[in-house]
Symmetry: C2
Amino acid sequence: MDKQEQILLAALKLFVEFGFHGTPTSKIAQEAGVSNGTLFHYYKTKDELVVALYVYIKTNLSECFNISQADGETVRATFKRLYLGWMYWALENPVEFKFTQQFNSSPYQSMLSNEAIQNQTQRLISLMQEAINTRVLKPLPVELLFTLISSHLYGINEYLLASNPAAEKKDEIINQSFDILWDMIT
Amino acid sequence: MDKQEQILLAALKLFVEFGFHGTPTSKIAQEAGVSNGTLFHYYKTKDELVVALYVYIKTNLSECFNISQADGETVRATFKRLYLGWMYWALENPVEFKFTQQFNSSPYQSMLSNEAIQNQTQRLISLMQEAINTRVLKPLPVELLFTLISSHLYGINEYLLASNPAAEKKDEIINQSFDILWDMIT
DNA sequence: ATTCAGATTGACTAATCACTCCACAAAAAT
DNA sequence: ATTTTTGTGGAGTGATTAGTCAATCTGAAT
């Protein structure tokens, strides 16, 4: 019974349902089954809690797949593995994914200065840069490529969550959308 | 000196900087140069103000360009016109654009039941459906196409705001990104 | 057994919040 | 000229909030 984690999970649930502003710390403590004081024992401020939750979720996500090219793996296979890994994580964890979106387009975004998370993005970027150098990917600015890929993924995810097709149909759309993406960037 | 508009503009500025939760109505009134009472005279609740601001901005946006195929205009030209119109609006009105993003991924989203705005989306959708029927666009579900296009646009916009290239370079990237998009969907 | 550091509680507080109310001013309608 | 409606201000209110604090509990080390 890790109270710290219970608090994060309670906060996640309430933030996504009612927004940051709409969920008082007292409700978070209540939902987590701990006292007000305990919450502030672990997180000095509400802001700190919000940022900690973001880091927690992003860390979970990063443990789902390994950002590097495995031996004998083609560039396309690496990209597909990462794309699918991220996509299925987002589909299986819609609340977490929604939270990251809310966070990213909020003023809290600028309060984030977490080395580990920025490092992770950096590894994706250099993987892409390498693929540009070996002329596998189009010679576009690497950040532009990164943006194209992630916004593509966000879009498909949103569509799948909204239309909620059968599992097979879903897999088909995801594979199809990766092909479209790959055509776009190579 | 339209106080109603002053309130909306003040709210826009503060919401984007501090978030919905981080800006009290008293600060909005202060920034707008009106009294607390005046604010609540025009908007019964804070929620109502937030939604009114969204409708206000979306209405302004929709006045920037006309969602329909002009006489003698190719489908590609129509789509490019709309894409560029939206993109340049977003680049020239970053605060407004940021606000719409914040709003769309917030719980306020569900409080929106504005006919005019939903109608507008519907017109875009049917424009796309027609292009699918005439086999100009790929035979994908129309909502998927819509999502692909708008997330593409969001992504490029984010990239341009972050990297802030020279005006010519910017135009080049936008044109290039439309070509990429067009290849992707046809 | 005693000590001690961290965990946990919940009542408490000072500040802040959304929103009200009423007095009055300006304008519009009669 | 008089009434009515609408706009405006700003002090005021009760509820709510983030965050504090002193008291107790727990469990491990000595």
